[in-house]
Symmetry: D2
Subunit: 259 residues, 4 copies
């Protein structure tokens, strides 16, 4: 999914289509699901990307709120999402809630009320916000009906205890083992053990936040950990400096995440 781990929003429509095709074809037989993010400031481009994803048999599509002109009400947001979803009526639709980036912080629980009547393919939410009051209400009312996937890695345990039924995040690319362990023990109700895992994640994120940690830094970290060359970020992002990389590397080693 090209959201805030990748740089989907910095790509052209054509590039986004190519990338979607590649993920879908590479994922076949290896990944359970490939959900394509098709959000755009332009609803027509969003619809075009939605159609394309469906044609290539994506498992589903996800959409963030437009954020230059911002929807001023739940009604306006629902209307926008509905028009995109209706361009790919055969595959599941997810709302990707990302207020730190979009500035749109309309309550998700209000969006969910009655949404299946407006968007029959509605399947769930990727909820990337620290507003656990909103998230908790979503889970309580809708966890049997919708997927409620939590996206703030440093708060995952606090969301799981409220009943999140999944997680999607950036740092899982290199601290996925840690998180999987956390999810496993959480599933069997062992929140006390889960806490130890969450603490490591928090210490890492708390550390990197102090000197600025965005997509460029996350990308550099993924390279450091995986050894896979990912190339520099695209403008307006600048490459993560060597000095920052060294600090990140040192911290990963201290925490035992990298050996």
């Amino acid at each position: 999914m090209n959201g805030t781990t990748g740089e989907g929003m910095s790509l052209s429509v054509e590039e986004r289509k190519l990338l979607a095709e590649e993920w879908i074809s590479q994922g076949e037989g290896k990944l359970d699901q490939v959900i394509i993010h098709v959000g755009s400031l332009c609803i027509k481009e969003s619809q075009q990307l939605a159609k394309h994803a469906a044609a290539y048999n994506a498992s589903g599509i996800a959409v963030i709120s437009p954020f230059f002109f911002k929807p001023q009400s739940i009604e306006a947001l629902t209307e926008f999402l509905k028009e995109v979803a209706s361009a790919a009526p055969s595959i599941p639709f997810y709302y990707y809630h990302l207020p730190e980036f979009t500035g749109v912080s309309l309550n998700v629980v209000e969006l969910l009320d009655g949404i299946e009547k407006r968007i029959p393919t509605f399947q769930g939410v990727k909820f990337t916000s620290s507003d656990l009051l909103d998230f908790g209400q979503c889970v309580h009312k809708y966890k049997d009906r919708f997927a409620l996937l939590y996206g703030k890695d440093e708060l995952l345990l606090s969301a799981m205890v409220l009943g999140a039924n999944g997680a999607v995040g950036s740092t899982y690319n290199y601290i996925g083992d840690l998180c999987n362990k956390m999810l496993t023990v959480t599933e069997r109700g062992d929140f006390n053990m889960a806490r130890e895992h969450q603490a490591l994640v928090q210490e890492f994120i708390g550390f990197v936040n102090r000197f600025g940690f965005g997509v460029a830094e996350n990308k550099a970290t993924m390279m450091l950990v995986s050894g896979i060359p990912l190339g520099p970020p695209r403008l307006p992002l600048l490459k993560c400096s060597e000095a920052k990389q060294a600090k990140i590397l040192a911290k990963l080693k201290i925490l035992g995440i990298l050996t």
Copy 2:
């Protein structure tokens, strides 16, 4: 404690002293602890209140950050707190972290690093912020040494799972039973049952937030539930309207909090 449940910050120094005396004398034999909030924009008044609290045998004192002129660094905040604490060197000192009101959101975990050398009476934090990344780090590093009391009622479970060792909040005046049940089951590790209790609290707070819920509304709710006349709030707060009170009452009944 006169913080944001009460209206301590709207009282004169003399009134605050009288109120402290009253709580301490009424609490004798009935309350485990009476901690007096002695924060003030004026450090001398804060010291005066601290001395007074100690003279009247308060169990401890708590201080929020000054918030007209704001400390610009951990160093400045520590220095301020130290000067207040040193006026009452015989009783425990708590930092009351309340960034939504003070606008001071310096990381608490950084404040705690080495604080016992600067403030020998330092005992803990009342943490009233939704920043669970900061809170989680505090708990992980310091829960054996300091009291880490969580103060956002609607996020209590999410804080408990990180290891909070206590809770202080406004709504506990009327949904305390609910919260006590939640804490009990949490203590024995039953986070799944705790979730049901937290959901009720979230539904109440989510509901009242939509039409504005501050100290005036909280006060009205306490009166509705307890039947104890508490009087109107002091200016600049206006009395909670009858219409709002009716909505709150109806919701409390629907949720089964009031019968």
Copy 3:
């Protein structure tokens, strides 16, 4: 220019090209200048639009900062703008400063320092922000070298007195006469008379701001005043309600802007 008067950011790349072509061809012989906004979250699309504008003999191009991933420094912003400008090296380049929409509030005066070495076609700034400290410094240092066009209609006089050498704004579509009078008297130094004109504009904008005035409302107002059918806004914007339109119309009449 399709910025925040029009809905350029809600259009596809193809639509933006068509619109640019239309403005350029319709403007021939009628408009002094047609400057095409070519900003995009995707630098490649931005470059493509820049090339297109140059090929169609636009008078210049303008670019807002990308705002999903945001430039974290003057260096990153300059680098982004430079890459776009270099795709249309034969026509003037303008930076369009729009922090209320982009969330990028890097000081423009720092951007301008030495920019002609990085971007040889750099010609000026459309400055749509109420930060008159920044704007005043831009004007003082650079008004002989660059065009410094002010874009907050309600603060135009306050910017003119600092030496702005032009203005671009949304409401000029219907209160342009008023503004032209203001500019004329300002040019001959009669700021006292200018004040009366500015007061009318402020009363209008102050009034509409109280009930929400965005692109949809501005569009409706343009229709009301000009009689030209402009169609509904595109999602996520909803059509301005009849009730709002009636209020706007009444106010325009009271102020004598519409008769």
Copy 4:
């Protein structure tokens, strides 16, 4: 006036009274007016200070909005101000609008509508905000009735052109000459010459803002320029560092403000 140049809000009630007495007695025969700031989080203390100021023949009193509990409406703010003003019914009352510090940004023009019926001693506003849309409307509607004193030194010219009838600010303690020249030329309508003076002020403030300029820094600057020892600021403010002082001094010399 002990507002944000002085540290009135960090003083105890007793200290504030002593300071008021001193200003009034020292000012006799030397200052046209001595207006005492009597704002407080506690309305009773505010009333006490108002009475005291009147008893000592202050020229007037000024009050900022309370800012721990914040007035939620014009009605609540008016009610608070009215109760303070009524404690000193014989002397003029000013509202001191300071949203950057108080977080209360209710529109002043709405406060002024009909205020003389609620507060018979109401005399004017010290308006310290960059919201020139609000200020312009205040001036247009009320400049014949109320004093509308502008308080953002770096934007003074932009406010004067709208018709401000006075100015109060911190930097006037050392760049007062510059500002007086600006006001003189402005009065005779020579806004073009005024611009040169404003530019110097903007360059100074723009420069110091980049490395943080608050009350501690302003105090150090006043000492540098006047040679009068003013002592260190009170906690939570820390003393301006030597390094910062050196930078400020160098800038004042470059700009010709200090020789």
